[in-house]
Structure formats: C-alpha cells, structure tokens
C-alpha cells in the first residue's frame, strides 16, 4: 500500500484581481512524504501561486487543495498548514523581520505562542541545521546574501515543518551560497523532510527526486529526472546543464548505471564503484 500524499492539489484554479488571465487553471500536483520535487516553469507559469496555495496563503477559487491532509479552505486548518508546510521566498531581505539573527529565527515560534524554552530549543536547532549558530547575535543586515537566505531558511525550519517549499530561494545566491544551501536541503531531505523547490537553475533540479513542469497555470509534465534529462527538458525550452553532456556520455558507455543523478558527486561515486 502506497503512502498518502502530504500535498494534494486537484484542479486548482486561481486568478489575481485585475489579471487578464488566471494564474492557475486546473493545476494538479501530488507530493508524497519525503519526496524532493523540483517545480519548473517560465515566469508567470503559476509556480509561486501554487506554492502560496500549498501554504494556505491563497485559497483556490476552484478545485481542492490539501496540505498535510488538511483542507486549505478551512480557516481552522490555516495556522496548522502554515506551520507544517513552511515557505521560503526568493529575496531574503523581504522576509527577515528582526534585526538580530536569533530574534528573526524566533519570530515564527513566537507567533505560535510557544514557551521561551521551546522557542530557544527550536532556534538553536534551526541555527545549527543552517550553520548559523556562530552568527546568532549578529545583525541580520550585516550577513552576506547566502547567509541571509540561510537565515530565511532557519526562520522556516524553526516552525518545524514537515514540508518545506522553496520559491526560487537559490536564485539570488552566488555559487558558493547556493552550494551551501543545497547541501543543507540535501541533509533535511535525507532526514525525511519533504521538499518542493521552485527553481530555474538546472543544477538545483539535478538533486530532486522528481520533476514537475508548469506551463500556463497547469502541470504539463511530471516524472523522474532520468526521463526528464533524456530530452524532455528540450521540449520545454530549458538549457542543458554543464554536467549533462558528461552524464549522457557516461550512460551511453555504460560507465555509470541508469538512474544515477546528473550531479558531479553522484557521477563520481558511481564511477568509483
């Protein structure tokens, strides 16, 4: 018997006021616990709207949305959904509320009405997971771009969510900052956290266990990365990541097994076996 989806969206429709066309027109997405799903699509394809619906920030005008088996339309479930399916946005400067690192991480747990002891425990854990423990007393404005995004991630992790939704959270980072954030995400996913990563960056997608592509407010392709890299990405106009040519060559020469992810460390590991 398969696992029940942790996120289930069926036929979601959503229109912004004054927009000429709906942002979502019948989007379907099911995410299983522990999955790492990369959500791709051009600007305006409805990715961010879908993420906000998963977090109960928006309510679909039609269709169903269940996050953590709770109906996003039920006002009683909204705070629990926001806590359980945390969202990290693109620009960290837009989501950092407090001037001090630890105070910002504590903002979410403070809103949940937890005791100061529990808030401190969560703050400590979130800072440790994101590697910001040594910066806890620093001013948030003095952090680097990568550190700020990790702070935004820590703020979301302090809610102790089951699902983490990243809305282009790596797009403003330099390669070093991105690598640090991706490593952090890899560890979180390995510990069982479900990840939905909205991204345009092909290197990020390579780490996902599943890829979903959005076009004009719908999911138009949903499948395994291996199938995506076989040529589907060209159909949707995505660029080929640098490592993909090497990956293809290694697969065609049967030097690495099928199903290996097209990321440097996985290919190197497969070659060494």
């Amino acid at each position: 018997m398969g696992k029940d989806p942790i996120i289930s969206i069926r036929g979601a429709v959503y229109s912004y006021k004054g927009a000429p066309s709906p942002a979502l027109c019948g989007a379907d997405l099911e995410v299983l616990p522990g999955e790492w799903v990369a959500l791709l699509g051009a600007n305006g394809s409805g990715k961010s709207t879908l993420a906000k619906i998963c977090n109960a920030l928006l309510e679909p005008t039609q269709g169903d949305c269940f996050s953590l088996s709770m109906d996003c339309r039920d006002p009683a479930c909204v705070p629990l959904i926001r806590q359980g399916a945390a969202l990290v946005f693109q620009n960290p400067d837009d989501q950092i509320v407090a001037s001090i690192v630890e105070e910002d991480v504590a903002f979410g747990p403070e809103n949940l009405g937890l005791t100061s002891g529990e808030i401190r425990r969560r703050v400590d854990r979130a800072l440790e997971l994101t590697g910001l423990s040594e910066h806890r007393r620093r001013g948030s404005h003095s952090l680097s771009g990568g550190q700020k995004q990790r702070l935004a991630l820590a703020g979301a992790l302090a809610l102790e969510p089951k699902v983490l939704i990243l809305d282009e959270a790596t797009s403003m980072l330099d390669p070093e900052g991105r690598a640090a954030l991706l490593e952090c995400l890899r560890e979180l996913n390995a510990s069982g956290m479900t990840l939905i990563q909205i991204t345009h960056i092909m290197e990020d997608i390579a780490r996902a266990g599943r890829i979903a592509v959005m076009q004009s407010g719908r999911i138009v392709w949903d499948g395994l990365p291996a199938d995506f890299w076989r040529g589907e990405y060209l159909r949707f106009g995505f660029d080929e990541p640098g490592e993909l040519a090497l990956y293809r060559e290694l697969i065609s020469r049967k030097m690495i097994p099928e199903g290996t992810r097209p990321i440097a460390e996985d290919m190197a590991e497969a070659l060494c076996l």
Binding site: N91, V97, I100, A106, E110, N111, H141
Partner: protein, 280 residues
C-alpha cells in the same frame, strides 16, 4: 556619493555590555527621565555633567564615544540651523557684527546651549537605540503602553510596526544608495546647482524608492503571514522581559543624576557663569 554615509540613529549595535543587558522598559524610562532633565538645563555650563554622563553611558555600553558622537551627523544640519538662528537673532549686548548679522553675548550663550541640548538629546536617544535591539525596544514599548489596550489602542500592532520600521532603516538606506548610484551611472547630477535644482534631481530617486518600498512592504506582509503572524494575536517571546534589581538601580541612578544636574545648574553652573565674562 554615499547617501547619509554612516547613518546610525536607530541602528542597533549588538553587544553584551551592562547597558545592553538592561530591560528595555528601564532604558526607555531612563531615557525619558534623562531627556526631561536635559530640558531643564539652559546655560552652557549646565551641560558639563551631561557630557560626562553620556561618556559614562558610552563606556558602560562598550560603544566608542566617537561612534556615539557620530550618530548625530544626520541631524547636524538641523542643529547648525538652530545654532545660527539663536546666534544671529537673539537681541542683547553686541560682541561683533558681520554685515547685517549681529552676534550678541546672549545670542552666543543661547546658541551654545541650544546646540548642546539638541546634540545631547540626539546622543541619548541614539544610545538607547544603539543598545536595544528593535525587537526588544518594541517589546518594552508594548509593555509600557499596555494600559492603552483598555482604550482599544492597537498596542501590539504599533509595536510590530515600529520593529519593522527600525529593522528596515539600514535596508532602505542601502536601497537609496543603490538607486542613487544607478542614476549617477546614467548621468544624473546630484551635487551641482542650487538647492532647487538638487531637490528636483532627487525625484528620479524617490519614484523607484517608493515603488520599491511598497513592493517590499507587500512581500514582507506575505512572508510574515506565512510565518504564522496574525495581527493582534497574542505572541510569546524568545527572551521574555524580566525586571531585575539592576534595572531598578539603573533607573534610580538616572533619577539621582537628574536631581544632581538640577543642583549643579543652580549652584556650580551659576558660579561658573559668573566667572566667565563673554568677550565684548
């Protein structure tokens, strides 16, 4: 060109000093007591203990005195303007004349007193903000204003607004600087011409800045909502405010200092004033 380079009013400097560790309610109350006392000082010698008090506060907070003094730079124009107004427009015994401008003995004393008072007011306010994180400051303010809840005043929302406003001061200055540089690279000139031309030159900076501020406010509201913030709903704190004996001691010390300064004004400062004869 850097916009308000080194701007530091309202900019918290993290630290572990005695002043940093005080309860924000104590610091806010002490600041009000001190600022009240400062208004009672009127002649230049009255301000001697206040300058020493500021230096002592700077030492106790482990913030360099030069940094505290620099924090008055953004209001320097206002202070210079006030000093000039008092210096040239106060009637009295004339010391010298610069064209139509008359400098009087009373004007010199008034200008010095007003300049010092304003500068010290800014310095003490800056000390409060430099040693109190915006979150902690708003917590303190919220607790002090809590009786207003009975009048249905949105105390929590006001406190949160203040936290965010203070948090965004450095960010907005960075953004302004970025827009300024972008406009300079496109040929904008902010440094030549009269005051009217310079003011007009800032319009292309203000328009994108306002657009950016509104977009940022919208994004921040969404991000806060996604982090379970509900306006007016009760919140707990990572560091709940706890009033300790040293907060009481610090507040009492502030009050004692104000009494001392009042006595100083009456006796010592008056004696110094009688010694000093202004150049005629």
């Amino acid at each position: 060109m850097k916009f308000a380079g080194g701007f530091s009013i309202g900019q918290f400097i993290p630290g572990e000093s005695f002043v940093h560790s005080l309860d924000p309610r104590c610091k806010i109350a002490a600041a009000f007591v001190l600022l009240g006392g400062l208004f009672a000082s009127s002649s230049p010698p009255d301000f001697i203990p206040w300058i020493l008090c500021l230096a002592a506060c700077s030492r106790a907070s482990r913030i360099r005195f030069s940094s505290v003094l620099r924090s008055g730079r953004p209001v320097l124009f206002l202070i210079v303007f006030t000093v000039a107004l008092n210096l040239f427009w106060t009637p009295g015994r004339e010391i010298f004349r610069l064209g139509f401008l008359r400098v009087t003995q009373e004007g010199l004393a008034a200008a010095l007193s007003m300049g010092l008072r304003l500068y010290l007011l800014v310095m003490f306010a800056a000390m409060l903000m430099m040693t109190t994180s915006p979150m902690s400051f708003s917590d303190g303010l919220e607790r002090l204003m809590s009786p207003l809840r009975r009048l249905r005043f949105p105390v929590s929302e006001m406190a949160m607004m203040m936290t965010i406003a203070l948090r965004f001061i450095p960010t907005l200055f960075e953004e302004t600087d970025r827009i300024l540089k972008a406009q300079i690279s496109r040929g904008a000139d902010f440094e030549s011409g009269g005051i009217l031309k310079r003011t007009r030159a800032f319009i292309p900076v203000l328009v994108p800045l306002f657009v950016l501020v509104f977009a940022r406010a919208e994004n921040l509201a969404t991000a806060m909502e996604s982090r379970c913030y509900v306006p007016g709903a009760p919140r707990t704190r990572l560091n709940p405010l706890e009033w300790s004996r040293r907060d009481t001691a610090a507040l009492v010390c502030s009050a004692v200092f104000v009494i001392f300064s009042l006595l100083w004004n009456r006796h010592a400062a008056a004696a110094i004033s009688s010694f000093v004869t202004w150049p005629v």
